[in-house]
């Protein structure tokens, strides 16, 4: 299973290396969202600073939608979905591979956004450890839930409009928990933040295990 996952994630990262879709499109989009938030709220740094955790994670969510769409559009062309099925790869491995690929993309986007909020919003890092583990856990949850819904909506005519409607309500707890953990992390009073990190970890675990079991029936259908 893990070997298959490595094969899939290697393939996705190689594709990204050659096409540069995330680097050239998703990352600039994420930075653009930050700038747009500033336009919408105020150039006043105080408001932006207060809202930084929420705006950061909203930008991550929007970018995640793009990354997930991209990850599953790759599989829908030229019968790749059938080819994946015929390849004999373990469906759970395919799921883990796709999720890991999305997670790597998201972590890269989060790094850029992190630089962005320090630069544009004047965010001040209080507890770096909490911020890093929050990013890791939230990204794992987003990638797992995103891969599940990505494959649910894959191949449908209406997938572009359907995916946000399906995914965003489910990842609402991730937004809440990651925002709260970031708030604690920026404030240096990170005691409250670890509880939110726990929630993120549980979310990631639940959706990873659902994905491992659900990908088999989802892949075998035509």
């Amino acid at each position: 299973m893990l070997h298959d996952a490595l094969l899939v994630v290697g393939k996705d990262l190689r594709l990204e290396w050659r096409s540069r879709v995330t680097t050239n499109q998703v990352m600039p989009f994420a930075v653009l969202v930050l700038v747009l938030f500033a336009f919408a709220l105020d150039p006043d740094r105080r408001i932006l600073q207060e809202a930084t955790p929420g705006l950061f994670w909203m930008a991550v969510l929007f970018s995640a939608l793009l990354a997930i769409q991209r990850a599953f559009v790759l599989e829908s062309h030229d019968g790749v979905r059938d080819a994946l099925r015929l390849s004999g790869l373990d469906p759970a491995g395919i799921f883990l591979g796709k999720a890991a690929g999305i997670a790597v993309h998201l972590l890269a986007v989060e790094l850029v956004l992190g630089v962005g909020v320090t630069l544009f919003y004047g965010a001040h890092v209080g507890g770096p450890l909490l911020l890093i583990v929050t990013c890791l856990a939230a990204t794992a949850g987003l990638a797992a839930a995103g891969s599940l819904y990505g494959v649910l909506a894959a191949g449908l005519r209406l997938r572009e409009t359907l995916l946000p409607l399906l995914l965003l309500p489910v990842v609402a707890p991730v937004l809440i928990a990651a925002t709260q953990a970031f708030q604690a992390g920026f404030r240096q009073a990170s005691g409250e933040g670890w509880r939110w990190f726990g929630l993120l970890a549980i979310f990631a675990l639940i959706y990873t295990s659902i994905g491992i079991f659900a990908f088999d029936p989802l892949m075998e259908e035509s």
Partner: protein, 283 residues
């Protein structure tokens, strides 16, 4: 495929209906003798419920009022609480039927899940509406970011998404499978949402909903319990019809496909082998 050989669960059997006079039922319809009786019982129940809830039960004021002192506005609770319970029941049925479908792969479980999600969406909207009206009286605001309210609102959106997903897929087997998994994922999310919103709000303010007073007196308690029974009946009646409608729809789709195939076969055997004639007929 003939419709009569596949006698569905809810339809009255054709043998009993001809003698039933005005009770005669269309075999392709959604009603049966049983569902009509259920419908009548439900109607009578609703009338009796309105009488108890709006007239017979005392207002929440005076000597034996609850701590909330809701006055006449307490009556909306007799509607709100049963509707909310039915809404959560409906989504539980959707998730459980989805799980059963994944296990048994039979069409019936999928239809049950779909019917329950549809009815559940209506009841969730009613829950939010009645809760919002109650909140206007109790807290002076139409909406409060309370854990239960927010969870219910997200639940509504989750299952609107579920129904949208169902509409987006045409192949019945693929639809059943994907919908079952979507229902389960959505249902697994509900407790997580509830806890996260609960923690989120408790950082800023105390819980705003004081629990419905458990020392509620006789006639009020009766109104509440009676409301639950009545709305369970409404749920059951709606489910019977939605289930049957889904079933008949699936059969109609199959027959349409069969008819189209037969048409094309007849075309092929009539000797017109030109591909142009084939595409013309398909339009």
């Amino acid at each position: 495929m003939t419709p009569d050989t596949s006698t569905p669960r809810q339809a009255g059997s054709p043998a009993s209906s001809p003698s039933a006079g005005r009770w005669r039922l269309d075999p392709a319809g959604t009603a049966s003798v049983g569902s009509r009786v259920l419908g009548l019982v439900t109607l009578v129940g609703i009338a009796a419920f309105l009488l108890v809830a709006l007239v017979a039960s005392p207002p929440d004021s005076g000597r034996d009022a609850s701590i909330n002192q809701m006055g006449e506005a307490v009556r909306i609770m007799y509607l709100h609480v049963p509707v909310a319970i039915v809404c959560f029941l409906a989504f539980f049925v959707t998730a459980a039927s989805g799980a059963m479908y994944l296990w048994r792969k039979s069409e019936g479980w999928d239809l049950l899940a779909a019917a329950s999600a549809e009815v559940g969406v209506v009841f969730t909207a009613l829950t939010l509406a009645t809760g919002s009206i109650w909140g206007r009286f109790a807290w002076g605001a139409w909406w409060v970011w309370d854990a239960r309210l927010t969870t219910t609102a997200l639940l509504l959106i989750l299952f609107l998404g579920y129904l949208a997903l169902r509409r987006a897929i045409t192949d019945p087997v693929a639809r059943a499978k994907r919908a079952a998994i979507a229902g389960l994922i959505g249902f697994a999310d509900v407790p997580i949402v509830h806890y996260s919103v609960d923690w989120w709000r408790s950082l800023h303010q105390k819980a705003t909903i004081t629990r419905f007073n458990p020392t509620i007196d006789g006639l009020k308690l009766f109104a509440l319990m009676f409301g639950m029974v009545v709305f369970l009946l409404v749920y059951a009646w709606l489910m019977v019809h939605r289930f049957r409608l889904q079933y008949v729809q699936a059969r109609a789709e199959e027959r349409g496909l069969d008819a189209a195939i037969a048409e094309r076969r007849a075309e092929g055997s009539s000797g017109v082998a030109s591909p142009l004639a084939g595409t013309g007929a398909a339009r």
